[in-house]
């Protein structure tokens, strides 16, 4: 049963991933990406990683792909993408990098420490628990995250602030002129919002 569900959703993940690359329309690509992300969330559930599954849906499907869609709608889908590549040797380099990543993955799966095996019940992830009770997946993640991984956690805040600063700089543009040029084509879209 476990295997059946795994194979169904693994197939769905791969189909979605293929769709992302093959779809002509960027919005369809984004939707295939959502399919992949949701399927991966189910795979997380199969590993008893409930919190991770929820995060996968809330952050990736619920926020990041929505951001992609905003960008797609900002640019507009009418515009035909130029199929000539501006970067020379893009294709061979992409193939080479892909091969390296694949080799890495195959190498890592040979080592148990990188397989992402299911949390083993009864085996503490961290030594810093006072009671024998481990709690559910969420409580375990909380304990590990806020004790053993405290430093990376605080650094994440810094990383997020860097992201805020970056997005603010991007959105404001380098000056009034560039800003105007972004907003002008969409004047049909939003001149009414102040009513």
């Amino acid at each position: 049963m476990n295997a059946v569900i795994f194979f169904i959703f693994a197939a769905s993940t791969l189909v979605g991933a293929g769709g992302v690359v093959l779809a002509r329309n960027p919005v369809h690509s984004a939707l295939f990406l959502v399919q992949t992300l949701l399927s991966v969330a189910v795979l997380f559930l199969l590993q008893d990683a409930e919190l991770l599954a929820a995060v996968q849906v809330i952050v990736y499907a619920g926020a990041i792909v929505v951001l992609f869609l905003f960008v797609i709608m900002l640019i507009g889908v009418d515009r035909r993408e130029a199929l000539t590549e501006t970067l020379r040797f893009q294709r061979p380099i992409a193939v080479a990098l892909g091969a390296i990543v694949l080799a890495e993955i195959i190498f890592l799966t040979g080592h148990t420490w990188a397989t992402g095996a299911a949390t083993q019940s009864g085996v503490p992830i961290t030594g810093s628990t006072s009671s024998g009770d481990l709690g559910n997946n969420i409580q375990r993640v909380a304990r590990v995250l806020f004790t053993d991984f405290l430093w990376p956690f605080e650094l994440t805040a810094l990383l997020l602030v860097v992201a805020v600063v970056g997005s603010v700089v991007l959105a404001r543009g380098s000056g009034d002129r560039s800003e105007r040029s972004i907003e002008e084509p969409s004047s049909t879209a939003d001149s009414e919002s102040a009513s």
């Binding site: 919005v27 599954a53 619920g62 929505v66 019940s121 009864g122 919002s193 102040a194």
Partner: protein
């Protein structure tokens, strides 16, 4: 896997045919309840608003016009479909599904009654009780957003696109506030499971309304939650999605007949679900006094009373939504976005931190009479420092 908090006892043993049947029956009941609930809610809404405006409201279909929404629904089945020629056909067909299925699913985590025995199996009167609990709600509202966004986009028409982009930006902004408001409860409860949260608000006497139900200990979070939930469901005064004067119908302008009905259904189901979640998190869910003169293990007290209390609380909140709909004018879009990002999110942060400080202090055995004012003072201090740091609207004008 060790669980601190009980999952549904129905599903802890072996899963045989009876168990599966019980699950299916529960699913069907939830289904019928939601559909009939939407029907009655729309009717009640029209009746109450009519009353508030000195009108009569629906009165022809059935007694007191109670079948009016059913008649409207049946009519929509007979309507011709017209899809714009330039639409993105597949996405256009997909969008109603993406809107309505999450709306159904989100209700699954709502406890509508106590723990009862059906055919020899103990079970909780709620469809699912996953450990991620309320996160499930956020996940579903995240998926529901796609329905709106894609409906507007796939029509290939201008007004729907504006409506859908507006809707998604609004829902995103208020989802952030909604999530942070829920944290105000989670700090108290220490669990995400809706059933465990409800169990912590058990009825121990009239005093538990004020001490055990979370609406008072988490009053700030409660207020933020209610406002954010209204905005999240595109309910007036936050219904800029379908601001008729500017956008005709918003994201569903190009949808007709039964597909339009699906969006409409999803919208009202979301209102019901959000109210039910508010009852669960803040108002004790199905907890309430049993009837003293019947045995505490009789069906009246185990089956009927919890369901009664749940629906009573739900109806109070739903009435409040209708009241708000009838009273408040629509907000302006800039104020709407400002309100979430400049007021609600900051307040929710402060509330979560202040609650955290009080909960930790209580566990450490500090004197709450000193701690609470100190925390409140600290929160106000941080708020004023924050407000001193940011420019006023007038100064912002100059920055641009």
């Amino acid at each position: 896997m060790i669980r601190l908090f009980a999952a549904d006892p129905l599903l802890t043993g072996d899963i045989d045919l009876t168990v599966l049947l019980i699950v299916i029956v529960k699913t069907l009941i939830i289904f019928v309840m939601l559909l009939v609930g939407v029907m009655l809610y729309i009717w009640a809404m029209r009746k109450v608003i009519a009353d508030m405006q000195n009108r009569i409201g629906p009165q022809k279909a059935g007694p007191f016009g109670i079948l009016q929404s059913l008649a409207d629904g049946v009519k929509l089945f007979f309507k011709e479909q017209s899809e714009p020629a330039g639409s993105d056909h597949r996405v256009y067909l997909l969008a109603p599904y993406l809107s309505i299925i999450p709306a159904f699913l989100a209700f699954a985590i709502v406890p509508i009654g106590g723990t009862v025995s059906i055919a020899g199996h103990m079970t909780e009167l709620q469809l699912a009780d996953p450990a991620i609990g309320v996160l499930f709600l956020l996940a579903m509202s995240g998926i529901g957003l796609y329905g709106m966004m894609l409906a507007g986009w796939s029509s290939g028409s201008k007004y729907p696109l504006i409506g859908s982009v507006r809707a998604s930006a609004q829902m995103l902004s208020y989802e952030a506030a909604l999530g942070l408001a829920i944290v105000g409860v989670l700090v108290h409860s220490g669990t995400l499971s809706t059933r465990a949260i409800v169990n912590q608000q058990a009825w121990t006497g009239a005093g538990s309304i004020f001490t055990d139900w979370y609406w008072l200990p988490a009053i700030g979070a409660f207020v933020i939650f209610l406002i954010a939930a209204l905005a999240e469901t595109n309910h007036p005064p936050f219904d800029l999605v379908e601001a008729e004067q500017e956008l005709t119908g918003g994201f569903n302008t190009e949808y007709t007949g039964i597909r339009f009905a699906l969006f409409y259904l999803a919208e009202f189901m979301n209102v019901i679900t959000m109210s039910a979640i508010a009852v669960t998190l803040f108002l004790g869910g199905p907890n309430g006094p049993g009837l003293g003169f019947v045995a505490s293990d009789s069906w009246i007290n185990t089956w009927f009373m919890p369901i009664f209390w749940f629906f009573l609380k739900l109806m109070v909140l739903l009435y409040a939504t209708v009241w708000v709909r009838a009273s408040l004018p629509r907000m302006r879009y800039d104020r709407l976005m400002d309100f979430s990002w400049k007021v609600l999110i900051e307040s929710a942060f402060l509330w979560a931190m202040a609650t955290g400080a009080i909960v930790v202090g209580r566990n450490e055995g500090w004197n709450l009479w000193i701690l609470t004012p100190a925390v409140a003072l600290g929160a106000f201090l941080i708020y004023f420092v924050l407000m001193a740091c940011v420019p006023s609207d007038k100064e912002l004008e100059e920055i641009r």
